[in-house]
Symmetry: D2
Subunit: 469 residues, 4 copies
């Protein structure tokens, strides 16, 4: 799929690096370019020097925020962190963009995180009763304050991070930059969001996805484990330990990272995202076989699974559409004569490949269903005889508390209609969703526990409070 409104979003990307070369900010800038797919609304970079931290952040794409001489106005530093953010609301929300710089009794830290702290409200109130005040409205400020509080109490940032992290509930992959140049990265015990580490001859980097390591000249080494806290100093890992251990049954790695969020050239827990998607296509072919002439993927999110479906079914893979790469966020004129086929401005079918063909159309998910219906109509008007829709994730039915930005459940077509109903509504000749088991199996080469609650449901958030001590 391809529209802003008819697509699921995850919130953020983080990156951090400590190198024996005074170009940490520049490296972080390149890394954010590589992670831009995870968040396009705002971004920022913080760099440490001489026990201070300089931070530049704003709304806009990485290339926009750091255009001209802006990047150069950051110091020549050996340690830096960066962040891309998905959605910002409100005119002045620039103060909500990350990284967040915090000055406290014994130092300065900058933090950036990916995920959703489910007990942020409680922690906020708890911290207020400790005397904390808050300027912004984001979870990041809560996390920073918590870390600062315990960094003081424990008289050490690493110890403070561990103490603070034990109070956090939900999904969090976090990088912390200290004024002294230390870089600390940690990940929630359930491992919802990805976080990995790489190195080269000059230092170390951590990133939400391995594609950022590749793009910046680091060699991917391994994922940071769920619950692990890693400390990096002067380009070396000086400590790494799994210290957050209270896993919650049913929680785990967000399987949507494999399905859609991550870039296909990233690798998670040893499994390339490309391979996971290809496997989903293979599995779909066996779960929902169909007689057809060609297999097409919806660009760009369905292309890998389509390749897998083709391999699994023996039906040839064919390019079905040309995607317009220039529309971006441009306004589209609502011409009356075009209402039927406005989708063709974004995705134009390749008639000569489709005419008279029975088409298997593969995409990663159906959210509201409106775009799918238009795509099916477009294919048929381009001459497709049949359109068999195959989806590389199970029916999407439930709200997520851990960072996925989904519509109200009421807007989720899979919540309103059965699979047959959806098939009729979008006008497809058949519709097949991969099963939850099938999806897990497709990702089976890795050893992760998965969170699949958006498909399978699960308990709501506990009301249990953790009083700060």
């Amino acid at each position: 799929m391809f529209t802003g409104t008819d697509k699921i979003h995850e919130e953020c990307a983080v990156f951090g690096t400590s190198v024996r070369a005074a170009e940490a900010a520049g490296i972080t800038y390149n890394a954010l370019l590589a992670l831009q797919h995870r968040g396009q609304e705002g971004c920022g970079i913080a760099a440490s020097i001489d026990n201070t931290i300089h931070c530049i952040k704003d709304r806009g794409l990485v290339g926009e925020v750091f255009s001209g001489d802006v990047l150069n106005s950051l110091p020549a530093s050996t340690a830096a962190i960066g962040h891309c953010r998905y959605s910002t609301t409100g005119v002045n929300s620039v103060c909500n963009v990350q990284p967040f710089v915090t000055e406290y009794l014994t130092g300065r830290i900058a933090t950036a995180h990916n995920g959703n702290i489910t007990n942020a409200r409680d922690l906020r109130d708890g911290l207020k009763s400790f005397g904390a005040h808050f300027d912004a409205t984001s979870d990041s400020e809560v996390m920073s304050t918590l870390i600062a509080l315990y960094a003081v109490r424990e008289n050490d940032v690493r110890a403070g991070v561990i103490k603070a992290a034990n109070y956090l509930r939900g999904a969090f992959s976090v990088v912390v930059l200290c004024g002294d140049g230390r870089l600390i990265a940690f990940r929630d015990p359930d491992g919802f969001r990805p976080l990995c580490i790489g190195r080269n001859r000059l230092g170390v980097a951590v990133a939400s996805e391995s594609c950022a390591l590749d793009s910046c000249g680091f060699v991917f080494e391994r994922d940071i484990a769920p619950g692990e806290v890693v400390v990096i100093e002067n380009g070396e890992v000086t400590s790494s330990e799994v210290v957050l251990k209270n896993r919650t049954p049913g929680n785990g790695f967000c399987i949507f990272e494999y399905v859609y969020f991550s870039r296909p050239d990233s690798v998670v827990d040893g499994l390339p995202v490309y391979d996971a998607r290809f496997n989903m296509g293979l599995r779909l072919a066996s779960e929902h076989p169909v007689e057809a002439d060609i297999v097409c993927g919806v660009p760009d999110s369905g292309l890998e699974a389509a390749a897998g479906f083709s391999a699994g079914s023996g039906i040839p893979l064919v390019q079905g559409f040309v995607k317009n790469r220039y529309i971006g966020r441009s306004f589209i004129y609502p011409s009356q004569m075009q209402r039927e086929n406005a989708v063709r401005l974004k995705l134009n079918p390749l008639k000569s490949n489709l005419a008279g063909k029975r088409v298997v159309l593969v995409d990663d998910s159906i959210v509201r269903g409106t775009t799918c219906a238009k795509i099916v109509r477009t294919l048929k008007s381009a001459g497709a005889k049949e359109v068999h829709f195959r989806i590389s994730s199970p029916p999407f039915k439930h709200t997520c508390h851990y960072g996925t930005d989904i519509d109200s459940e009421n807007n989720l077509i899979a919540n309103r209609l059965s699979v047959d109903g959806i098939c009729r509504e979008i006008g497809a000749d058949s519709l097949g969703y991969i099963s939850v088991e099938g999806l897990k199996a497709a990702c089976g080469r890795c050893n992760l526990d998965f969170c699949v609650k958006c498909f399978a449901g699960g308990e709501t958030l506990s009301n249990q409070k953790n009083d700060l001590e």
Copy 2:
């Protein structure tokens, strides 16, 4: 390929529409979005109303120039033309952006063209001796002045266009909008640049490529023939005739439109561009067979030919790279630790698909060769055992007088080195270019004469002058 500097460019796109609905400007805006790949430096729209012509044009992408309420400031018109321009030079070149509006003795016209007038200098001088003056430095102003001159002399715009067009030499696909709403489209007799026509229940549109017709709700009808002049009034074609007949042997449709310039979903002379590129791949497979494990295309320009090579050779087609869709024109930080693999920020190889494989890598052309060398190194460092480069156009050696923006011949690697030399320089294990005959054959389903002078060479421009009468 993918960089700005290491790629051939063609200059422009044109579009025009006459409809029985007051939304011609909006339709033109959508069409320019669909044609943006042909020119990203500037754009403009002219709309006629009440015997006047309103025109908005500026440097920037279509979505940038017509952001906010700018589109609405054009009148609710039933006829409009638009233009996307490739390169502008100089700070204030906004006055060179098209369309060009000209007021003359008996009316007003706006013109937009794609191509290169080879006798523009002569015509300019000729017109000056008729008393004409010029404000801008572009061919468009010469063309407009010429049309205006003869529109007066012939006492009719259509007659004036024909008379003027007979003086023009070179490549030109032109749309002319008259103050009274008439739309005239014409194409040089050699048919260098594409131009096609479509219609729907409300009117008619002409466009550089059929993808713009698809995207705006028009049904592609046919190409405008080389030398044809079409007049459209009130949403109907009122006249269409091939009146420009002095073809030049050796000239013809620029075959690079099939190779690279046009969008794969466009159709030229009945041959879908996708199919042409697929055929080039088929042909390459037979001209330059190789034992290999996988075929990859360089995104996005080599993907279709790679599919053809796979089909022709039986070697499986595999995705070799992930292209970063967000870099655009962003500055890239020149990190010292990344110099080796900076290309991976734009094109990251999919290691799990490549490791240990003998790879056939397909792209559309090699200009300077620098980027190719980096891509080959990147593939090898991702584990590819062998890299066999296959190019879906012949060695690119010669300057073009008809609109293709090529480097000085000195910078063209094929001018400096033999195929073997190039192969060594880019570090490939083998290198094969399609032959000129093979390329023509791949496009053989259409009946066009082709211009292949950039590969094969040809006479230089004649110095023959045509004095204006």
Copy 3:
């Protein structure tokens, strides 16, 4: 007075320089800063080098258009011209901004003018019948074309300028830059708009007002005479002759230049504008004496005449208001509680100077009268016992064909009401306008014929046509 809508405007400023130092463009930039009061909507600079002319122009203030490196992108030239423009209409009017660059049979010229060509429509049509075409809608293009036409016919730019100028009717102070670096300046035979010349050890400059010469290090020498054509080459005047001689009785120097348009530090025909305004105040004091305690000027346009009134009447001059220098074109929030005294955001009365005082309030003119009424109310609410309004120009009643941008005559309060009626409507205790004779006398130290048709009326434009030959 002070509001955009309640003020008369004149259209433009011109400047040109030829110096033996490659900094003509920079000097012109500084000069335009000094002339910005004559036009704030757009501006441009053209500089010649190597027989070409480079031109940068855009909407906006001088400091905005030439911000950053824009000025540097002009060549290091020894000759340049510049222009500030008052009003632009329409979104894409940037092509109407001056200077206008014209390429013609035997050369290139750039032109910039101040004034209004009254037979522009006729000339345009005449030129069209010679085959000319037009891109923009401004008089400047007509003038350029005309000059280019005769530059060719006379085989010399200076001769062409003279020939062309003889066809022009109306008000025009013009600078022409030739590709070869020659600078030609000329002024209509009636001398409506100012134009003066200065020099220093390195060269010569011409400017709409002498304040620009002062500001750029030139020593003011003299006004260019009505009808004079001056040629400057390599920093020297090589020719200067009064060649345009067909003066029209009743026409002459626009007396509003002395009243309001020009900067008080400029000198016209030997009479400093400051002195002229001071004299107007003196004269007002004798024409409309009144018993009062203090004299105040309305900032900034009434300050000099107020000083004169004080000197003439012996009533002390006191600062009555503080003007907010930061509002510029900012939006003002229409608070309900402020409607009465919104004017105080722009002009706040100095209560301690005004309380209990009988005030003579001096301003340069009354256009619609709405602002005057607010100012009088504001003064009274600040404690003024009486407000006696004195105006340093006669009642403004008539449309101007020569460049002054006035409201429809219907909106001119002096057209609707008698002086007594105006006095009642604006709530003043008395109102006195200077007489036409008094105004002329105040400017009597110069020997100019004046145009006073906006006060006294006069024939409408003749319909007489001058056919081009």
Copy 4:
């Protein structure tokens, strides 16, 4: 004087209003326009509604930050505060712009202040030891945190403000907006910076200067007393009490507010600023009499004192310069031929008023002296026979800890040279500074204690700490 670099600056302006009309944000916007002279680098407005506070702030002028629909994006509120800030440092300092919004245990407040907290560093450290963390680097955050801390401890915002204010040292005129719409204003016990209050039928406003009250339709009532805390609810003052009483001998109202910072139409402690400056001129005339022909003020800062000097000496007041109102922050081209008189682009002398005259030139202060020297030279080159410089403040010699942004003492010419030495350096024929006693006497109609340490010197800051309790 007139240049950015050769002028003293004070940091800020504050405004707050509580009205029975939902237009508090709009009124605040207008008020900031009226206070823009106190700070041009950034500004912000916070408005309360439904126990929340919305805040918009950014770098730029008031009219720039709140252009377009930005003002409308604030809620229709009955209470708001605003701030203009002088200097910001660093690219991303937007988070340092005020108002500052703080969320704490029992509520939300926004604060804006004018002045300088001299013990901010200590308070910051003290608060950190209470567990506070800080995001920005400004005093405002310290103040907000302190207020929030004690608002919780005292269980009431007003009580918290009082408690907090007792810990603050230095200069502070502060407005606090509570989420519930209460507005609290307070001023340090020494009364360094101005703060006044006004009302109309719909409510109450507090402002740094009375000119903002005038401009927004409020009637100035009185100054808020040094040490006074005022609470305003629903458009009524519900409490006002002088609670901060620990005055420091030698501290007091910054006399530079009368000399230069405040707008002449503002009134402080019953003394109009205009009158104070006029008195300074009177006093200067008796302290430093001179035989001369005319008196001129340097626009705009010397004009009122010049009027006083003229009245005191009987020497006629004459306009000496025309100030260019359009240069603002525009770049000026450094033409070689203009280096001598670049100042004339900003201030052009009126030759006809000056030629052959002995001139008394009045300005408010001399900082570095470089501009003064240029002005004297310019006057002489305009024909002035003698230039007698008179300064309406004593020699400026010392650093200020209370908010005035002065150069390093090394750059202050009065620190390097005697009065005679300065006179020689700037090329004046005589130089006279008002005495400290004379300055105080000129402001004698008010009963304020003054701080004159920038002229007279004084102890350095005590190192005494106040531990927070």
